[in-house]
Symmetry: C2
Subunit: 332 residues, 2 copies
C-alpha cells in the first residue's frame, strides 16, 4: 500500500541504493540520477520511512522529553520552546509524563524500546534513581533545570540556584525589608534547598535571619496558598521570598483574601518569571530564569552527546536576573 524505495527505484530505472543515496546528503550520487529519483518520488508521492532508516542506522531522531510537573504553566512555555527547537533540527520529542510514575526502570525501559537518541529530563528535581537508571541504560541524558549534583554522573544545564537565592535576598534588603520569610517549594527539591542556602547566606552576611522558613508541598498554586495561610496564622512578616511564581501567586491570593494588601502590608518576590507573572492581577517582582537559553543549550548538549557519548561531564550554568515589578514597596 505505501510506496517504498523499491517502487521509486523501479520507476526511475535505477538501483535501490541509488534512491537511498539520493536521500542521504553527503552520499555519492550524480546530479542526473538524483533528478531522476526526485522526479519518480514526486510522481509516486514517496516519503522515506524513518522507521526503516532507524533500524539500519540505529538513529531515531527521537528525543525523550521527561517531565513530572504538568500543573505549573511554566512547563507549557518549556514544552513550547522544546518542541519548536527540536523540530527545527529535525528532531521530535517523545513526551514522557512522570507525574504519577514511581518506577524508574519502567520509564527507562520504554525509552529504550523506542530507541530514543537521547533524553532530556526537564524536572526541577531528578530522582537520583532515575539519573542512575538512564546512565546505566547508556543513554545520552541531560538534566535541564537541574542541579550540579556532586556525586552525580549526568550532564546538567541550569542556573545557580544559590546565586539566585542571594539575588532575592539582596533585592529584599535593598528595598528596606528586614522581617523576611522564606517560602520555598517542596523541601526535598534540590532547587529549593539551594535557593534557601543562598538566601540564608546572604541574609546572614548582612546580619539578618529570616523570620520564618517554610516549604510548600509542591510547586503549585494551592500549595502556595496553604503554606501562606499557615504562615499568616502564626506570625506577621514584611516580605516573602517565594520559591516559584505559582507559589507566589497562591501566597498573594491568600494574603489578599485575608484582608492584607500587596505590597502595602506584605511584599513578595517570586521565582521564574513565567508569562503570567506580568498579569496586572499580580505584576510580580521576581527572579527571572533564562529558560530559552537553558532549553537551547540542553538540546545542543544532548545532540553533541549523541555524536560523542563519552564526552566529558558538563555543567552549564546561565545567569538569572531580577525583574522588578510591583509586589515590593518602592526603594527607600
Amino acid at each position: 500500500m505505501a510506496v517504498t524505495l523499491k517502487d521509486v527505484a523501479n520507476l526511475a530505472g535505477v538501483s535501490r541504493s541509488a534512491v537511498s543515496r539520493a536521500y542521504t546528503d553527503g552520499a555519492s550520487v550524480s546530479d542526473k540520477t538524483r533528478k531522476k529519483v526526485e522526479k519518480a518520488a514526486r510522481e509516486l508521492g514517496y516519503s522515506p520511512s524513518l522507521i526503516a532508516r532507524s533500524l539500519a542506522t540505529n538513529r531515531t531522531k527521537l528525543i525523550g522529553l521527561i517531565a513530572n510537573n504538568f500543573q505549573n504553566p511554566i512547563f507549557l512555555e518549556v514544552f513550547d520552546l522544546y518542541t519548536q527547537a527540536l523540530q527545527k533540527r529535525g528532531l521530535r520529542p517523545l513526551l514522557v509524563n512522570l507525574t504519577h510514575e514511581t518506577d524508574p526502570e519502567q520509564s527507562v525501559q520504554m525509552l529504550r524500546q523506542y530507541n530514543v537518541d537521547g533524553v532530556i529530563v526537564a524536572t526541577s528535581t531528578l530522582p537520583p534513581l532515575f539519573a542512575k537508571a538512564f546512565k546505566d541504560a547508556h543513554m545520552p541524558v541531560v538534566h535541564a533545570f537541574g542541579r550540579a549534583q556532586s556525586g552525580s554522573d549526568v550532564h546538567v544545564v541550569g542556573i545557580d540556584n544559590q546565586a539566585c537565592g542571594r539575588m532575592a535576598a539582596e533585592t529584599l534588603l535593598r528595598h528596606g525589608y528586614r522581617d523576611i520569610a522564606f517560602l520555598g517549594g517542596p523541601e526535598f527539591a534540590t532547587s529549593t534547598q539551594d535557593r534557601a542556602i543562598g538566601f540564608l547566606e546572604y541574609l546572614g552576611e548582612h546580619g539578618t535571619v529570616p523570620s520564618d522558613i517554610r516549604y510548600a508541598s509542591a510547586y503549585g498554586y494551592q500549595a502556595g496558598r496553604d503554606a501562606m495561610r499557615d504562615l499568616l496564622a502564626e506570625k506577621r512578616v514584611e516580605a516573602v521570598f517565594c520559591g516559584d511564581d505559582l507559589i507566589c501567586m497562591g501566597a498573594m491570593d491568600e494574603t489578599r483574601q485575608s484582608g492584607l494588601e500587596v505590597p502595602g502590608d506584605i511584599g513578595f518576590i517570586g521565582f521564574n518569571d513565567m508569562a503570567m507573572s506580568q498579569w496586572s492581577a499580580y505584576d510580580l517582582t521576581t527572579v527571572r530564569q533564562p529558560i530559552r537559553d537553558i532549553i537551547k543549550s540542553s538540546i545542543e548538549l544532548v545532540v553533541a552527546l549523541v555524536e560523542e557519548p563519552e564526552r566529558a561531564l558538563e555543567v552549564r550554568i546561565f545567569p538569572c536576573s531580577v525583574i522588578e515589578r510591583s509586589t515590593l514597596k518602592p526603594l527607600p
Copy 2:
C-alpha cells in the same frame, strides 16, 4: 552492542521465532519454551526493539498529538491527560507544535515519516487544509475539541458550542443582566463562531440583542485585555460573555485596572473552567468543558480507527455545564 533477539535465542537454545513468540501474546508457545526465553532474556537484559517490530508489523504505537496553542494553560491540562491516558495503553504521544507552522504538507510529511498509527488534533480550530492533508495521507485522524464540520471528513470529539453559547446567555439573563457584550476568541475560529450563534440565538429568543459583539485576536490573556480596553473605551455594558477563561482573565484585569469592579460594575462569564479559573483573584463563573471525557473518548476513537480505518464517520459530543462562582452578581 545492544542485545538482540538472536542473542536470546542462542542462549535459550531455541529458534528466533520462539523468542519472538514468547513476546507476542496470543502466540503459540509452550510454557517450557517461554520460561527458557524469559530466563535468558533476564540474564542478558534484553528488551525488544520497537523499531524493528514496527517495521515488521507496520504499527508504531505512536500517536501524533497536534497542538497549536502553547500559550493557554488549559493545554497543559490537556497534555497531562493525554500523555497519561496514552501511556496507560502502551501508546506514546509524538508532540507536534503547529504554533508557527503554516504548511500542512510538511507536518503531514513528518507524521508519515514516523509512521504514527494515528493522529489526534487537539486544536480549537483545525485549518481545513490540515484536515484534508491528513485524510489524503490515509491516517486515522480524530479532531478533539473540534466542530462537526458539515462537509468535513474527519472524526470529531468535542462539545456542542452552540448549546454552550445558549447556556451562557441563559445564565446571564437569569442573573438579571440585559446589557450584555459578547467577547469571543478569534473570529475565524469555528468554536467562537458557534458559541456566538448559540448565544445570539438565545438572546434573540428572549427579546434581546447583545450591546456589543467583539473578537479577541487570539485565545490569550493579552488579546482579552486589548479587546476589553477597546470595548470599555466605546461603551458601557453590564456583563460580558468571554469565549475563553484566559480571555476573560485579561478582560477582568483590564476592567479592574480601569477602576471598575467585578462583579459590581461588570459581570463576567468565561469558558472552559481551567484550573486557574478558581483562583481567588478571579473565581470565574464559567462554562465547563469536560476535557477528561473528550480526551478519553478521542483516544478510544483513534485506537478504534487504527483497527478499522474505514469506520463510519463519527461525531461525539459531550455536554457542558455552568459553574457558578463569583463573577456575576447574585441571582435577583
